[in-house]
């Protein structure tokens, strides 16, 4: 469903991705691992269409359509989702009405506030989110863990076809990690969602089992394998892949 061919991306004058190739199929979980500065977040931001990342070469097609010219919201409408490593705080924006707004957009529906609350309740149970949480403003003053839960809640509301999780595990304790993983596994089972789990550590891969693991280094995928590759990294770190 996602095909990346020879992707090259600059930030300013600096080339970060240097010819990256990747293919993701329907209902597959991929892990992209790599040391700091290898280009993991750049890949995530570029796929979602951040205006600060300049694509200098290559192709990205999602569901057989070139998405590189699309606005972020058009990519979202096609079923792409990015869980941010550092979600923005949007002061004054009420969470429930925001969630209902993005739900109505993505589902082309106009659910009433009451109907939407019912729908939300089920999703909140998966994430173990309390009602009081909803009375706050979007990410405003949230802890790192709360922000990640909020990302997952938005993912459950949007029900994307492909979710990219950009270091969603960083800064989470084990309980939060389990909860986040549950959300991904739930959509993978229910809707056949695919996911790209971007991570530095192997911790999260105990809860979200990847079928494919890719090692990203210096803007390129340098090794691919199955789940076993993640165990290798766990044992030996990234050192064997460094020059």
């Amino acid at each position: 469903m996602l095909e990346i061919k020879n992707l090259k991306v600059n930030i300013g004058d600096k080339e970060i991705l240097k010819g990256l190739n990747l293919e993701i199929g329907q209902n597959q979980i991929h892990a992209i691992m790599g040391p700091n500065g290898s280009g993991k977040s750049t890949l995530a931001q570029t796929l979602m269409g951040h205006p600060g990342y300049e694509v200098t070469a290559g192709e990205v097609s999602f569901l057989n359509e070139n998405i590189l010219e699309m606005e972020p919201n058009e990519r979202a409408a096609k079923g792409l989702f990015l869980s941010f490593q550092y979600p923005s705080e949007v002061e004054g924006v009420n969470i429930i009405s925001y969630l209902r707004m993005i739900y109505n957009h993505s589902h082309n529906e106009k659910l009433s506030p009451i109907k939407f609350r019912e729908l939300l309740k089920e999703k909140m149970t998966i994430l173990d989110i309390k009602d009081e949480f909803l009375n706050r403003y979007l990410n405003d003053g949230f802890s790192g863990g709360e922000k990640k839960r909020m990302e997952m809640l938005q993912m459950l509301v949007l029900e994307p076809k492909l979710a990219i999780l950009d270091e969603t595990d960083s800064g989470l304790d084990v309980d939060a990690l389990k909860v986040v993983s549950q959300a991904v596994n739930y959509l993978a089972e229910k809707n056949g969602m695919s996911a790209i789990v971007i991570t530095h550590y192997t911790r999260i891969l105990k809860y979200i089992k990847p079928e494919f693991v890719h090692i990203l280094k210096d803007g390129k995928i340098i090794k691919q394998g199955g789940e076993a590759l993640a165990h290798e990294v766990e044992v030996s770190g990234y050192a064997p892949y460094m020059n």
């Binding site: 269409g49 205006p51 606005e71 919201n73 990519r75 923005s88 949007v90 002061e91 009420n94 949007l158």
Partner: protein, 466 residues
């Protein structure tokens, strides 16, 4: 990402049209005869005429303020100061431009109100629609009349209070208003009376509140409580280029009064308003003020805290679009001990607009344990737009506790990208950020106003991207 252009030009967007023969009938410029004519037509007591004439002398002597906005575009000789009732000329509903009708439609303004707003009807007959609510007020002894009518019926209130909080000589525009005032509201809330519903909500649209030189006098007697709401969020077309209102509020001992204004003038209007409250012991005055539209607004709601433990609050939002300057702020004068005040000001500048916060906090010598909090936040939506802050503090007693915070922010690319990645288009993301920014003030508004204000800001942003 595309550049954002938020179209706030009412002339273009709402396309109101001025009847060319209208201005021929009304007399331009100001002189003593016009003032005498106003007073005679209204059958006023002799002292009011004298008051007007004295104010006129002051007006002539005073210069335009040399601070604030650019007032050079005002030509006092080209302005009509008084319209005889026979001069009133109305357009038909068919003549109202389609964009305006569409805006009313999308704001959900009722038909009767639409006709009034578009100048089809001279008066919105609230007495028919709201008669049961009116009688409820009457039973409580609340007086709520046009200022002209109240002067006839209750002259003693005027002799005691009129022009006492804001003397004619306060500034050039209060002098002008004092000489030619017409319309406005008079409100008296008797001792201990709590008015349950926001007052203006019954009369949301009312001809007397849309005058050019309206004069409002409010007396909240001891221990009373009332929320008064003025204006509306739908764009108001005005054929007059200068609006200069005076609002005087007297908050007696232990009373609590909130005055909410949302104004959305067409783009050629100078809106120069003097609003002030005198707050006695344990009284609370709250000004909630929203300014959209106009060419230049200069408005600094004030509280003179003259009794112990009196409290003043100003919450204001300004939205400055293309060719607009919102010069707004607040004044808090602490003349007694244990008084406290809060000023929260939020401004949005876009498409070359300019918004200025101008504030004064003054603590008189000997006023002990005064507490002051000032917070002004500015949001700038593009590189062409400007925000300025002019806070003045004159603190003459060392026991005062003063907090001051000011922030200026631009809508960040990251925030926009974040919201767009969740499926919102750029304009939707932008208006969500803006409505979040003003939320602390919007949540203080009566629900229907809050809904309308948010919808209006959405309309301003919608379809104007790129």
């Amino acid at each position: 990402m595309q550049n954002i252009v938020i179209n706030n030009d009412y002339k273009e967007k709402y396309g109101f049209h001025v009847d060319s023969n209208f201005t021929h009938k009304a007399q331009k410029g100001l002189n003593e005869d016009i003032i005498r004519e106003i007073s005679t037509n209204k059958n006023e007591p002799a002292w009011m005429l004298e008051y007007r004439l004295k104010a006129y002398e002051i007006f002539k002597k005073k210069k335009n303020p040399n601070w604030g906005g650019n007032l050079e575009g005002i030509n006092y000789d080209e302005i009509c100061y008084y319209l005889r009732p026979t001069d009133k000329e109305l357009r038909t509903w068919e003549e109202v431009p389609a964009e305006i009708k569409d805006t009313f439609e999308r704001l959900g303004v009722p038909q009767a109100e639409r006709e009034f707003l578009a100048g089809v009807k001279a008066q919105f007959d609230s007495s028919v629609v709201y008669s049961s609510l009116l009688s409820e007020l009457e039973e409580q002894g609340v007086i709520f009349l046009s200022t002209d009518e109240a002067l006839q019926k209750y002259p003693h209130f005027f002799e005691e209070y009129f022009g006492k909080v804001i003397p004619a000589g306060d500034n050039k525009f209060s002098a002008l208003n004092s000489s030619v005032w017409s319309g406005g509201s008079f409100v008296y809330i008797p001792k201990g009376v709590h008015v349950k519903r926001p007052l203006q909500a019954y009369f949301r649209i009312n001809a007397v509140n849309m005058g050019q030189f309206e004069r409002t006098l409010i007396i909240a007697d001891e221990g009373s409580f009332c929320h008064y709401v003025e204006g509306c969020t739908a764009p108001v077309y005005s054929k007059d280029s200068l609006h200069s209102a005076v609002v005087e509020v007297i908050v007696r001992k232990g009373a609590r009064f909130r005055y909410t204004t949302i104004q959305n003038w067409s783009n050629d209007v100078y809106n120069l308003v003097t609003k002030r409250a005198r707050v006695e012991e344990d009284g609370v005055m709250e000004w909630v003020d929203g300014n959209l539209g106009s060419r230049l607004t200069m408005k600094y709601p004030s509280c003179y805290l003259v009794g112990e433990r009196a409290r003043g609050e100003v919450l204001s939002i300004a939205y400055a679009g293309e060719h607009q300057h919102q010069d707004a702020g607040a004044k808090m004068i602490h003349a007694a001990s244990n008084t406290s005040s809060t000023i929260i000001s939020k401004s949005i500048s876009t498409n070359g607009g300019k918004s200025s916060y101008r504030g004064l906090v003054q603590v008189a010598p000997g006023a002990k344990n005064v507490k002051v909090r000032v917070e002004c936040d500015a949001l700038i939506l593009d590189d062409k737009s400007i925000s300025e802050t002019f806070p003045t503090m004159k603190i003459n007693d060392s026991s005062a506790q003063i907090e001051h915070e000011a922030t200026v922010s631009k809508i960040g690319e990251e925030k926009l990208f974040y919201l767009m990645s969740r499926g919102l288009n750029e304009a939707e993301a932008m208006s969500l950020i803006v409505s979040g920014f003003i939320e602390p003030i919007v949540k203080e508004l009566p629900l229907e106003y809050a809904v309308e204000l948010n919808r209006l800001i959405e309309l301003e942003m919608e379809g104007s991207v790129g």
